[in-house]
């Protein structure tokens, strides 16, 4: 290694523990000028913790940070900003009702009381041109797509003269095209001498974006390499600590009767605008229908209409042979429809309640968990124990509150409960989002098992590779409309990407 160059960032011996976990264990990290470092690891490996330390959100228990070779005492994001460090978090920190311009200067120390918007706008336009960041400075944040919002976040950092950019799983919310765009932006930043840390758990992104890669597992650095010297397969093995199956075994597709049918469904979103526009689709028993689309194009609304949580304003919903249009959630649950919701921590599971309570939430209404109006706590605990064992939910006890479990184990809890309740249809919304490779494998395996058991599975995902692997057919959703439905084995990823971005076949041809 070249010792003569002073690294831009050097983190030495960083350790940080949270109640019960050692999130970072003596981590050394180096980042050079004009370098993109990929930080690869499963969920809970400590990637975000490490970067939150660098950007001043957490204080390390031990360890030191050096910027340009001199000791940096970083107590807050403001301190980090002084050192030129900025982070784009997974959940954007933007004010929805304000314009791009206003968001950019929000919180800036050296702006006058009455900001000179003309000057700010000019600088913004210059920066945007320099880094290929197309954004309308006058648009309000809520009007922007997720990809555009991310660009605003990046612009915000560039405006603050950040030299070191931390991007926390930036592609999770982007279409393939937007990801490529981001890759160009990152490249432009490198050209300008800026450095970036790129948090991810996707191998392809490591390959596409980074110069060097550091793999974390359980809070420790397990490998470091120049990206060019390694392969996705090798990285995956290092990340998980064992060989990973990228391909899933699947029985041949043999669809049965139609279990779910939507005909010309319209529904309104939370803002009262049309979120589903004349959606028609059929799901058969023994079939996984994947719904592709960029987040916010009607996926949540579609799942909610099917599960009775949202009223449709037009059209017919049939489950089995029954008309279930605008029936209550309970009536739909009684038809054997299970639902893995998008928001697992506040909808899918109740953090303040125990694992046992969470597991019982679908079946507490009847025997064997209840007798008449009374619950049978012993049976509930036994029931929970059996599911905890069957689904390998890592929890200290059935009485532990769910909020103390990791994301993967919360999802397994939901999965265990919903699979138990599913008899006809399983609606799974982003079931593997944010999960590590191990948990993702389990989730996908379970969905396929449900299909083989004869259920119809409506599977929402943002990950096209995952969709292609798991689904039998794929429908693309854009602005609440079904843009097309394809057989998964014949689908063309580029074409699906185009449709996800709202470009029709004719235009893309």
């Amino acid at each position: 290694m070249d010792e003569t160059v002073i690294p831009k960032v050097e983190m030495r011996g960083i350790s940080k523990s949270f109640p019960g976990v050692l999130a970072n264990d003596c981590i050394d990290l180096m980042l050079h000028k004009s370098e993109v470092l990929a930080l690869l690891g499963e969920n809970g490996a400590g990637k975000s913790t490490l970067m939150n330390i660098l950007c001043g959100l957490y204080r390390p228990d031990k360890g030191e940070i050096y910027i340009n070779g001199s000791y940096a005492d970083i107590h807050s994001p403001r301190d980090a900003q002084k050192y030129g460090i900025g982070m784009v978090h997974q959940n954007f920190k933007l004010v929805d009702s304000m314009s791009v311009l206003e968001n950019i200067i929000l919180g800036l120390q050296n702006e006058p009381f009455m900001p000179d918007f003309k000057r700010v706008r000019q600088r913004l336009v210059d920066l945007a041109a320099q880094y290929h960041l197309k954004v309308d400075p006058n648009a309000n944040i809520w009007q922007l797509s997720v990809g555009e919002q991310q660009r605003v976040e990046i612009l915000k950092l560039l405006y603050r003269n950040a030299e070191i950019l931390i991007l926390d799983e930036p592609t999770a919310v982007l279409t393939p095209q937007e990801s490529h765009e981001l890759s160009r932006i990152v490249h432009a930043m490198k050209q300008e001498g800026k450095s970036a840390v790129f948090i991810t758990h996707k191998m392809e992104e490591v390959m596409e974006f980074s110069d060097r890669v550091m793999v974390l597992r359980k809070g420790k650095v397990v490998a470091e390499a120049h990206t060019a010297d390694t392969t996705p397969k090798e990285l995956a093995r290092m990340m998980v600590g064992r060989e990973v199956l990228f391909q899933i075994e699947k029985k041949p597709f043999s669809p049965g009767d139609v279990v779910l049918e939507l005909s010309n469904i319209d529904a309104l979103g939370d803002r009262g605008l049309l979120a589903l526009n004349n959606v028609s689709l059929q799901l058969r028993a023994g079939e996984i229908l994947g719904i592709a689309g960029v987040a916010g194009n009607g996926q949540r609304e579609l799942a909610e209409v099917v599960t009775g949580l949202r009223r449709s304003t037009k059209g017919v919903l049939r489950i089995g042979n029954k008309d279930m249009t605008n029936k209550s959630p309970l009536e739909i649950i009684r038809q054997g429809v299970a639902h893995i919701p998008q928001d697992r921590s506040s909808v899918g599971a109740v953090g303040d309640l125990s694992v046992a309570s969470n597991l019982a939430m679908k079946q507490y209404r009847s025997r064997p968990l209840a007798a008449g109006i009374f619950l049978l706590p012993k049976r509930i605990v036994d029931f929970a124990r059996s599911l905890i064992e069957k689904f390998r939910i890592a929890t200290p006890s059935p009485q532990t509150q769910v909020k103390f479990l990791s994301g993967g184990n919360i999802q397994k809890t939901i999965l265990a409960r919903e699979i138990g309740a599913a008899r006809t249809v399983m609606v799974a919304v982003y079931p593997s989002r944010g999960l590590d490779v191990g948990a993702t494998e389990i989730v996908r395996r379970q969905l396929i098992d449900q299909r083989d058991r004869g259920l119809g599975v409506l599977f929402f995902s943002e990950d096209l590779d995952e969709l292609l692997q798991v689904s039998d057919r794929i429908a693309v959703l854009f602005e609440g409309k079904i843009m097309g439905i394809f057989d998964a084995d014949k689908a063309d990823i580029e074409q699906i990407g185009m449709l996800m971005a709202g470009m029709s076949k004719e235009a893309s041809a």
């Binding site: 019960g20 639902h339 909808v347 309640l353």
Partner: protein, 364 residues
């Protein structure tokens, strides 16, 4: 060395018992300091308080008299609070329950012969409280109207309405102008067990146990628990969130209404001034100090009632200023509330570990 608060992963039973005891000891020390400033002997004062509240049969009966409405309203408030429905209308529900009970006892003797009049009066109070609480519950669930404001303002309506009745149409013509209705038939009097203390105490304790069972052991209780933790999650599980909130809040109001009916049929035997003296507000403290656990409510209610009766004694026996009793109540409550931090968190002492605990990386 560093002190760190860490959230407990499970509630520790010793902490649950020890923390209030230690908090109470801290309160006594604080109060002793204050008493010393006023030149009063703390030990004598505490003795006077304890004897005043629990040491004599009259004192104990008076403590129970105050404990009954605190218990009933405390239970009512606790149920609503478990659903994160901030019912601060216990006072109004209690008042209206009292008004309804008095109305039945005064004017419906024909329909309810003999002792049935008492049950009719109590039932009337219960229903009035439930309906009164139902209004903000429906406004909240149907129109998302903030329940804190509505329940609070409805208190004034209920209280002023009761005043209107006993100053106006219901005033006893033979009452020498005294604001109050005539005394109603003894058929509607609640049996007493000791001094002015009545059987309401048994009802309160029984209801505490029943409520605990309902909340912890029934399907409905489980549904309320889920709604309280996350309404979105409850809706997703097929639970009728709105209907259950309305039902539970009406139950809350029913308990408060019954408290009012107890006051009327057990203590005053007429509708008169003094029905609303703040039990419904103290109920909020009772509910929080009980950590919304119905089983704890009777104990907390009796303790707070004792504090209030004992505080009155301090004024009389020790010759301290009248406000002293209230100040002492406050001083005792503060450490108790602060102490609840320790039941949810634990204090860890972190010793600084020696630096360079990291293994030396092998030189490449």
């Amino acid at each position: 060395m560093k002190f760190v608060f860490e959230k407990r992963k499970s509630t520790s039973v010793p902490a649950l018992i020890l923390v209030p005891l230690i908090s109470f000891a801290v309160s006594l020390v604080l109060t002793a300091l204050l008493l010393a400033v006023f030149g009063a002997d703390p030990f004598k004062t505490y003795a006077a308080m304890a004897v005043g509240a629990f040491g004599t049969s009259h004192g104990f009966a008076e403590t129970l008299v105050k404990a009954i409405p605190l218990m009933m309203t405390g239970l009512g408030v606790a149920i609503a609070f478990r659903l994160k429905f901030w019912n601060i209308g216990a006072e109004g529900q209690l008042t209206l329950g009292g008004v309804a009970a008095a109305g039945v006892a005064l004017f419906m003797e024909h329909y309810f012969p003999g002792r049935s009049l008492l049950f009719a009066a109590l039932f009337g109070g219960l229903i009035a409280g439930a309906l009164w609480a139902g209004i903000p519950a429906i406004l909240k669930t149907a129109l998302k109207v903030d329940e804190t404001l509505v329940t609070l303002m409805m208190n004034y309506i209920a209280i002023l309405y009761s005043e209107f009745l006993y100053y106006g149409p219901w005033r006893d013509p033979k009452g020498y102008g005294f604001p109050g209705s005539r005394m109603f038939s003894a058929n509607a009097w609640l049996p007493r067990i000791m001094g002015r203390a009545h059987v309401g105490i048994w009802v309160g304790i029984a209801l505490a146990v029943i409520l605990w069972l309902v909340l912890r052991r029934t399907r409905w209780g489980f549904e309320l628990q889920i709604i309280g933790a996350s309404q979105k999650a409850a809706r997703y599980q097929g639970i009728a969130v709105e209907r259950n909130i309305i039902l539970a809040v009406m139950l809350s109001g029913a308990l408060c209404g019954l408290a009012g009916a107890f006051e009327i049929t057990g203590i005053s035997h007429r509708l008169q001034q003094g029905l609303s003296i703040g039990y419904g507000y103290t109920a909020i403290i009772v509910a929080w100090m009980s950590q919304l656990n119905p089983l704890a409510v009777p104990f907390v209610a009796i303790a707070l009632a004792g504090l209030s009766v004992g505080g009155d004694q301090v004024q009389m026996v020790m010759g301290l200023p009248a406000a002293m009793g209230v100040v002492m109540q406050g001083l005792i409550l503060f450490p108790m509330l602060a102490g609840s931090l320790f039941t949810e968190y634990r204090l860890l002492i972190v010793k600084p570990e020696p630096r360079a605990a990291c293994p030396e990386p092998s030189q490449e």
